[in-house]
Symmetry: C2
Subunit: 418 residues, 2 copies
């Protein structure tokens, strides 16, 4: 994989020009993407910027995020060839930071469950996960150092886990969703994929203009609360093993680790996520569902058919109240620990491309709006990576990155010893 | 003005066909809009729906709200002739309820301060207010029974006050903003204009599928807290008189009325609104500002020039924390009263069309996300209407409508006696 932070250092030192850094990604895409299918559109005549912390950094942008100079097709024939007027806000933030958008990455249709054609770069017989399929795969395949995705239930953390890359779903609205195709305005969150946690921090700091997110020289030892999300049922053996390894590594590295019970109010919030998501989806996608019914992607259409008229405004209001109570209960957990550690996904990437995997270990955290980072922790049978998820209090994006960097280093050290 | 609720009753009884109701609006626009300039685009071949609570109801939609079958020009030459792919969610909600969108109404550029060409129907030498200029004017001039606007600071309540119509800015996100051009995602709120409060309730209930918003047979006597928003400076004489009349009417009608002091935390929140608004505007309008600078509307461009780089993420985070504290302090005020009563605007509509008026009595309530209704309470010199604003707790849209209906009836009774 291409490390963003490493490229930054080499560009800053003059060892590598921004143009050469960019060219490396363009060549890698040329060489590898035929086999992966991460990109649905490539930018023409890309150039590196002269200034900005992300000069020379090639970025892939999920194809539900508006671009003025490239089509934005939402993974659906309904938007075939569609050209938005303006760039999404987060695309402008990338450009302001000096990054170069080299292409649009494959998304499941409308960031729901109908799969893209992308394969998992670790094992092409398996799904890369979704909905940010192409973004996760493009970073995993070493084509680009940074990609934008979005998460409404589990669409950043899960594909990162399946593809073996680092990813952050920042605090709700740390990155703007203006110009991002909406599925659920309470949930949709823009996130980043990169090779490692330091790379995520460098990218997020540059895009958001928040220097406090950059990693400090020293990494403190976090107080870690391990949660198994029992309300979401048991994980498969591969994810249980990933969490066991992460706990082991954290303890060996001197972190304080203890198991925490999730409050009942968070279990209720977990159960309310679908109601919020699907109620809002019926409004957000009303034009597509009602005027383009025959062209709708089949899994999404079936989901909307199934939930149509079933979720009343009163159900939605109650779900939002449950979510608010869940947020308060969750905040209290962080009085005693810096971060939570849990599964990123039920297991390794499922076989086949028809389904993109299950969101049950992700959807609570999206509804809570708290920052989550995936780090690879285990490699299961078939060379399939399995991640774990580090979670901090709302607004503590610096803390989640620092703790994830600690975990990443602890896992690497344990692996080196083993 | 055309009463939506009255049209509904006549259509339901068979006295009037939906087509005839719609035709009445089309004819009124044909006859009057040349002098008013409320519409920037008219729909062709409009037809009434056969079913739905809003069948036969002609609606004007502010031209920052996406429509698939009409241009959406944002009041700016940057979007001249622009055709979105999809209808905004709230346009689909209107259509689902049976309404017919008869045209797009004039907006200040990007819902900021650069004026539209619309004049005030009560006195054409005066501004109709903004940013929902055409929506307020179209209802006031008796052209249509319902119009959609949006408010980021004071863009629904203020033009309603200036034009002498009823309007509601509902609780934050009661109506979806998907497909509405963003200025500030924390603030932008879709609202409605209609002839009277019953009409607002009928419209909002139908669009949101919330029957509990429909007015009950009996109107209870609300407990009213009068607030003068001293942090926003003193109003002009016309608005002071409007509030005095409203208080007098409420007392005569048997409401419990008392003056309340606004908590200091809400004064701080009032002061934080600009920071939230302008920080987000720099991201929301980044593409326009950075790639279409020369074509930007001058007042908005000057505002962005002035604030560029001045609001740091830390300032923004602090403004949001202040807003949260303000929301909690405000909620406590509603332990003792059902609604607050205050100024809708500093005075009557200013003379001339160059400026659209001041938002200082509106912007706190937008940041708080609480439902607000304007009702006309006074007619100042020059035949210029002046409204008052009824405000309820977040989520109590039924309560704000019931209390505003009480106030409207009390004012009408007092006027009839006088």
């Amino acid at each position: 994989m291409i490390s963003l932070a490493d490229l930054q250092r080499r560009i800053a030192s003059g060892e590598l020009s921004a143009d050469a850094a960019l060219a490396r990604s363009v060549e890698a895409i040329d060489a590898r993407d035929k086999a992966i299918g991460a990109f649905v559109h490539r930018a023409e005549n890309v150039r590196a910027a002269d200034t900005g912390p992300l000069r020379g950094i090639a970025v892939g942008v999920k194809d539900i995020i508006d671009t003025a100079d490239m089509p934005t097709e939402m993974g659906s024939k309904i938007y075939q060839g569609w050209r938005p007027r303006a760039d999404a806000s987060v695309v402008m933030l990338l450009k302001q930071a000096g990054a170069t958008v080299v292409g649009k990455t494959a998304t499941t249709a409308f960031a729901s469950r109908d799969p893209a054609a992308t394969v998992n770069p670790r094992n092409s017989a398996h799904t890369p996960g979704g909905s940010s399929s192409g973004s996760a795969a493009a970073v995993a395949a070493g084509m680009i150092p940074l990609a934008l995705g979005t998460q409404t239930a589990g669409s950043v953390i899960r594909p990162a886990s399946y593809c073996g890359v680092a990813a952050i779903k920042p605090s709700f609205r740390l990155l703007p969703t203006v110009g991002v195709k909406c599925y659920s305005w309470t949930l949709d969150t823009v996130g980043l994929f990169a090779a490692g946690v330091e790379d995520l921090a460098a990218g997020l700091s540059a895009i958001s203009n928040r220097p406090e997110l950059l990693p400090g020289a020293a990494i403190g030892k976090p107080r870690i609360g391990v949660v198994t999300q029992d309300f979401a049922d048991a994980p498969e053996a591969a994810s249980a093993e990933a969490l066991r390894l992460a706990v082991d590594a954290a303890q060996r590295a001197g972190a304080s680790v203890r198991t925490l019970a999730m409050p009942e109010l968070t279990a209720q919030a977990w159960g309310a996520q679908d109601t919020v998501q699907e109620f809002e989806a019926h409004q957000a996608l009303a034009w597509e569902y009602q005027t383009q019914y025959d062209a709708m992607p089949p899994l999404l259409r079936a989901k909307l058919d199934e939930t149509r008229g079933r979720i009343l405004p009163a159900d939605y209001d109650e779900a939002r109240r449950i979510a608010n109570r869940g947020r308060k209960a969750l905040a209290k957990l962080f009085d005693d620990v810096d971060v939570l550690l849990t599964f990123s996904a039920p297991g390794a990437a499922p076989k086949g491309l028809a389904l993109t995997g299950d969101t049950r270990f992700n959807k609570l955290w999206t509804l809570m709006g708290v920052p989550c980072v995936n780090i690879p922790a285990h490699v299961a049978e078939g060379g399939l990576p399995v991640g774990v998820q580090v979670i901090a209090r709302f607004g503590n994006d610096a803390g989640v990155l620092a703790a994830a960097r600690f975990m990443e280093a602890a896992l690497a050290r344990m692996l080196a010893i083993a």
